[in-house]
Amino acid sequence: MSYENRYSDELGQDPVLKKKTARRKKQELYQKTAFLLIKLSAAAAILTLIIIIGDIVLKGYPAVTIEFLTRMPVNQMTEGGILPCVIGTVELILLSLLTAVPLGVIAAVYMTEYAADGKIKCAVEEAVNTLAGTPSVIFGLFGMALFIKYIGLPQSLLTASLTMGLLIMPVIIRTTQEALLAVPKEYREASRALGATKWETIRCVILPAAYSGLITGIIISVGRAAGETAPILFTGAVYYYPKLPDSVFSPFMALSYHLYVLATESMNIELTRSLQYGTALVLLAIVFSMNLIAAGVRRHYKKKLSSN
């Protein structure tokens, strides 16, 4: 008998070692199962995304022609293009960002940099969290009640953008707050030690260092502003408007609402199937390209700020 065999025989008979080996095997099994589950859920998420996007791209691709993008809808929206919806959606996104980003950033700066820890700050933070989780239809109704019934604005692009701005503001506030909190304390100290005031420190050091987090907030907001239908339903988006919006006070068509109308309320739902897919594809493309721009800006800042 060789030395090795004898050794392994002895090992095999040792009860303590046997127990240890069994335990280790059990642990390995656990680990493998856990990894498998994690991989499966990741795969499920990616697969769902691929199926949805793939379906829309495949079925919508033939419908998207230059004419589709540059013409008005005709023949009771069963033919023609979606130009007013594209313009309406892009304007809606930009205008709601224009209202929500400055206000949201200022609120976040106040809450992280100026407000003293206490009940009021805590209450405001809870309020922001609750707002972020409030269903969009509530925002729509609130926007209608406040801007249209109370203030007396018309059903228009402006009103819809203000309402949408309210909806995305909590997201902007929260992401900005997190970005500001992630700026290392050392930067603040260094700036103050050079004789900078608190505001100079925030403006010149902290906000620039937080840009990339801020842009993440904007990316999330763009997706919501483009997709949410309830907030604009009561405040400005219309079933059919034969002109391009000529001012912020005119009603407008939006891709999300147009899609809803085509899919549920049009004269002939089957007939417009390809138009529906085309509209969905264009909506996706708009959100995606805006995110791409934002990600590009974020990368530019990261590159400028740090070594990698």
Partner: protein, 291 residues
Amino acid sequence: MNATESKNAFSYEDTLSFENAIGFENKYLYEQDPAFSPEMNRKKAIEVKDLNLWYGGNQALKKIYLDIPKNKIFSLIGPSGCGKSTFLRTMNRMNDMISNCRIEGKVCVDGENIYGKGIDVTGLRKRVGMVFQKANPFPMSIYENIAYGPKIHGVSKKEIPGIVEESLRCAALWDEVKDRLKEPALSLSGGQQQRLCIARTLAVKPEVILFDEPCSALDPISTGKIEELMAELKKDYTIVIVTHNMHQAARISDCAAFFLSGELIETGKTAQIFENPQDKRTEGYITGRFG
């Protein structure tokens, strides 16, 4: 000691040995002698009188009296938590940013009490610069890092490139970075980043520079460069340095003060503190019996 002798004791070194001879508290009784104080004042960059500091209910500095001479390197030594960093931060009022911190007593920079009424804290911090333990360049380019201070203090745009070059030269960094001023400061090595921070402090033209353990995160070569730099800087600036490294204190500083649990135990010329400490506790710390 009598009055005639004291009138001759004009140089700072003599004063130090005199202080140590008569004991610390007595010195301040003595200092009220009008014949003595003008000369002292001219040589003092910072003068601390009866300084007490609390974090909440916890007293972190107890009755500190200390004079810091001009154009010298003054090191503050002592074990962790003894209050030396806290003390350093009282000199440019960085403790103001801590909400439960309370300070009593006087800290005079150039004869002016910085805890007095109507003091412009940002102006003070311009005069008393600070370099931190961890190199903390801003996430901007090398150039912008240096230009930041002069910019916020309203220096005209034309002068800034000159200030940037001069500051980088003073911090012995110019030759290493002159071709890459537009690159991010965070791409520099740790030692270069710390010299950049020194250059950034120099750019606002302070009188005093506070160093809070500036070399504790650096390798010996970078440490050597910073020490050389400090020796160079003391010609134009007063330097106060907190250090854990006893050898460093002995190597570079002219004067030293030993802190223990919020109290100033002993101060004097570095050579004296290290070779002939008057207090048992100082001796114990320096010879490595505790701390």
